[in-house]
């Protein structure tokens, strides 16, 4: 996704930021940034899932630079958002398929139910709208009606879905699909995979096998391995990223379900620890509900600021 990706869709995360508005307002109407105030700020970050240690560190740096100053609500939120955005800025990298690869192969991975299949549908919509030829592979041959679910997305987006019989070998299927996609000169091939918990090594080995077998056909494949994370996930996301990255070389993240009340603060901890690109966020169940990841918007959402107001206050 080149620069300006999704710009057509950029209504932003307004829905998820609005509801976060509460919390601080009552607390910070020009008051001294003392211990008590800092503790409240720390609590705010913890309840957003940043985790106690990252929240603690951010507040510590606040203590050093701003302790004892008189601040207004807007100022403090804005400063906090800036602090968080500076952690996120380096990972806010759009997804850009390489046109040299025909097809550019994208492997979707993640634990169960995070939104892999739906995200494939959304990306398929985006790239077909761009005039790209997109093909999908129903690599989840395990879960009930997983194939049919992807087939519906294929119909919705006008993309060919390559599927095998139930319980077929996912690696063999991916290999076949890659061959077909090449023959048809597709731009992109999205490989859906069954959800799997990172602590199940047999299932993780299965993923590694899909990659190995695809490489027999094209040794550069897959060109992207996207780990899909659910924004409601807490501290365990750290372990998910660590293990998936180690075993299948994750190249980027997609964070889903940010239209809910979860604020996805674990993304800050992830950016801090792993620095993996965050390509996009999911903000609904429909094909249009995908947005580029914006460090500023995300940070503002976390602290309950509406978009585009942080600069004004600081």
């Amino acid at each position: 996704m080149a620069l300006g990706f999704f710009s057509r869709l950029k209504k932003g995360l307004s829905r998820s930021t609005q509801k976060l508005g509460g919390g601080l307002t009552s607390v910070f109407t020009k008051r001294k940034l003392d211990d008590e105030a800092l503790e409240e700020l720390e609590d705010l970050l913890i309840t957003a899932d940043l985790g106690p240690s990252v929240a603690g560190r951010i507040i510590e740096s606040f203590r050093r630079t701003r302790f004892g100053t008189e601040v207004s609500d807007a100022e403090i939120r804005s400063a906090l958002a800036d602090e968080i955005a500076s952690v996120l800025e380096p990972v806010a990298i759009p997804f850009a398929p390489d046109p040299a690869h025909r097809p550019h192969v994208v492997l979707m991975v993640g634990v169960n139910g995070t939104g892999k299949t739906t995200t494939i549908g959304k990306m398929a919509r985006y790239f077909t709208d761009q005039g790209k030829k997109v093909m999908l592979v129903a690599g989840d041959t395990f879960r009930a009606a997983a194939v049919e679910q992807l087939q519906v997305w294929g119909e919705r987006t006008g993309c060919t879905v390559i599927a095998g019989p139930p319980n077929a070998d996912a690696a063999g299927l991916a290999f076949e699909a890659l061959k077909q996609a090449k023959a048809q000169d597709a731009d992109l091939l999205f490989v859906d995979t069954a959800g799997r918990l990172h602590n199940k090594s047999a299932l993780m080995e299965e993923l590694a096998k899909i990659i190995r077998v695809m490489r027999k056909f094209d040794e550069t494949a897959p060109h992207s391995v996207l780990l899909v994370l659910d924004a409601t996930t807490g501290q365990n996301a750290m372990e998910q990223v660590r293990v998936f990255r180690e075993l299948v070389n994750v190249t980027g993240l997609v964070v889903t379900k940010l239209d809910g009340s979860a604020r996805g603060g674990i993304v800050v901890a992830l950016a801090d620890s792993f620095g993996l690109p965050v390509h996009a966020v999911g903000v609904g169940e429909q094909a249009e509900d995908l947005r580029p990841f914006s460090a500023q918007d995300f940070a503002k959402g976390l602290v309950g600021l509406p978009e585009g107001e942080a600069e004004a206050a600081s």
């Binding site: 509801k19 549908g121 049919e148 990172h198 047999a202 996930t233 379900k257």
Partner: protein, 478 residues
């Protein structure tokens, strides 16, 4: 090699012991200082607070818990006790088990006039449909109930088909799919069919919905109004973070949750959401999901989850699990071959698989308290499993003959193997070299024996610069 992974086991045990010592160390400190002051309790509670936040217990729930326990701890009970430290530890643990629902599982309520409706609700992807299938299987096999599964999910692509397929797997009936009906209409039809055809239980699976989605929350309210379920089960992912409070509150306010199901307890999340759920809804946690298959449904055990949240307990259980995972017969077979000097690349591959089965070691460690610090300490000293994967790939691209006698692998074979495994000739060389070193290491080990090994430690076996090192024994992580 067998002995080697025994050694690595011993390493894991050490880590576990170190970890379990963290919290109890705090409590020991109290014991040594005699009488228990408020400051002492505060200090211990800070650790408890951190452990709980790391375990994803929601902040307001943590605060409430810590305050209550503080009250209980600073007082006569503790001062009178002989060992104050132990008393506090026990108070914390007991309070947590209590807060999680106390001992004993709470079964699903079926005492209503049949057909008894059970309503499944929750966020998107939490596991409602799968859990519906699991409960149907359980009720039909264990309690011989005649169960009807009905999907009210008109949102997600192929959701109704998913439930129908699960019904087939569970060998229970599912409501025929009629396109174009609303969830409320489907619910009414399900109840009609169930009454007419004499079903005992109707499980109503609903679409995932966000707690802030007013329209969809209203819809599920209506479904509840027309069906009057005997149970309204909130299905929650065990990996859920702080948002658990919002979910619990919104669903409870809208539909009155009567029970909670925690799914994905087979993962390595510490599962603090269980406590948040119980605290906010007041409803018991009735069941847990421990896998994707339909029989992976279990009763909820508060004491186990308490241990998981605090990290105080079940260290033994974890080590036991690790021991169970390894195939001992295979281990013995490998050990024999090793002693006989006949260890080949097939055996090496088998060994890697054994080690891999253990899964991520820091994953297991993550279930324990203070994981941040310990993981830092582990750092890159954790088993380097990527190299093991590469080795497996390389070996699987060799012929039988090559695996038996690696010496025959010369330049052209190396090229072929590298191409077949998606690696490079250098990587193949590296593997062969390491295998060579391992072989000589084994010979040394045979001479040294277990006693010599214990005396001199692993370094007696390990040539320097072995990269990812041999499996199991590689990179001791202490």
């Amino acid at each position: 090699m067998f002995a080697q992974w025994r050694v690595s086991f011993w390493g894991i045990t050490q880590v576990f012991e170190a970890l379990s010592g963290r919290l109890s160390g705090v409590f020991d400190g109290l014991a040594k200082r005699g009488a228990l002051s408020e400051a002492d309790v505060m200090e211990a509670m800070r650790e408890v607070r951190l452990a709980m936040l790391d375990a994803d217990v929601a902040l307001p729930v943590v605060k409430d818990f810590v305050n209550k326990v503080k009250e209980r701890a600073v007082g006569a009970e503790v001062l009178e006790s002989i060992s104050p430290g132990q008393a506090v530890a026990k108070i914390v643990n007991d309070a947590l088990i209590d807060a999680l629902g106390g001992a004993g599982a709470v079964p699903i309520t079926l005492n209503a006039v049949p057909p008894v409706p059970i309503l499944m609700v929750g966020l998107q992807g939490s596991g409602k449909t799968t859990t519906s299938g699991k409960i149907a299987l359980r009720l039909s096999t264990r309690e011989r109930k005649k169960v009807l599964l009905a999907s009210l999910d008109t949102q997600r692509p192929a959701a109704q088909l998913q439930l129908a397929q699960l019904a087939t797997q569970a060998n229970v009936a599912s409501l025929p799919i009629v396109a174009g009906q609303t969830p409320v209409e489907i619910a009414q039809r399900a109840m009609d069919v169930a009454r007419r055809e004499g079903y005992d239980v109707v499980i109503l699976d609903t679409a995932g919905r966000l707690s802030i989605d007013e329209a969809l929350m209203e819809e599920v309210r209506q479904v509840r109004a027309v069906t009057q379920p005997a149970e309204t089960l909130l299905v929650v992912d065990a990996m859920t973070g702080q948002d658990a409070v919002n979910t619990a509150k919104a669903f409870n306010d809208a539909v009155g949750v009567t029970g909670v199901v925690m799914t994905r307890m087979d993962g390595d999340a510490r599962g603090g959401a269980a406590l948040s759920m119980k605290a906010i809804t007041g409803a018991p946690i009735k069941l847990t999901g421990s896998g994707e298959k339909l029989d992976a449904l279990e009763e909820f055990h508060p004491e186990r989850v308490a241990g998981r949240i605090l990290g105080l307990g079940d260290i033994a259980g974890l080590v036991e699990k690790a021991a169970d995972t390894l195939d001992h017969e295979e281990g013995e077979r490998l050990a024999k071959k090793m002693m006989a000097g006949k260890f080949d690349l097939d055996d090496y591959a088998s060994q890697i698989r054994q080690i891999s089965k253990l899964g991520s070691i820091s994953g297991i460690v993550g279930m324990l308290p203070g994981m941040g610090k310990v993981k830092e300490a582990l750092g890159d000293k954790d088993l380097d499993t990527t190299i093991l994967k590469t080795h497996l790939a390389i070996i699987s691209s060799m012929t039988k003959g090559e695996r038996k006698a690696p010496a025959i692998i010369k330049a052209s074979r190396k090229k072929r193997i590298a191409a077949g495994s998606g690696t490079s000739v250098q990587e193949v060389n590296k593997l062969l070299k390491q295998f060579d070193m391992m072989s000589s290491m084994m010979k040394r080990f045979n001479k040294l024996g277990m006693k010599g090994l214990m005396r001199q430690g692993m370094s007696a076996l390990m040539p320097k610069g072995m990269g990812g090192g041999p499996p199991g024994g590689g990179r001791p992580f202490r």
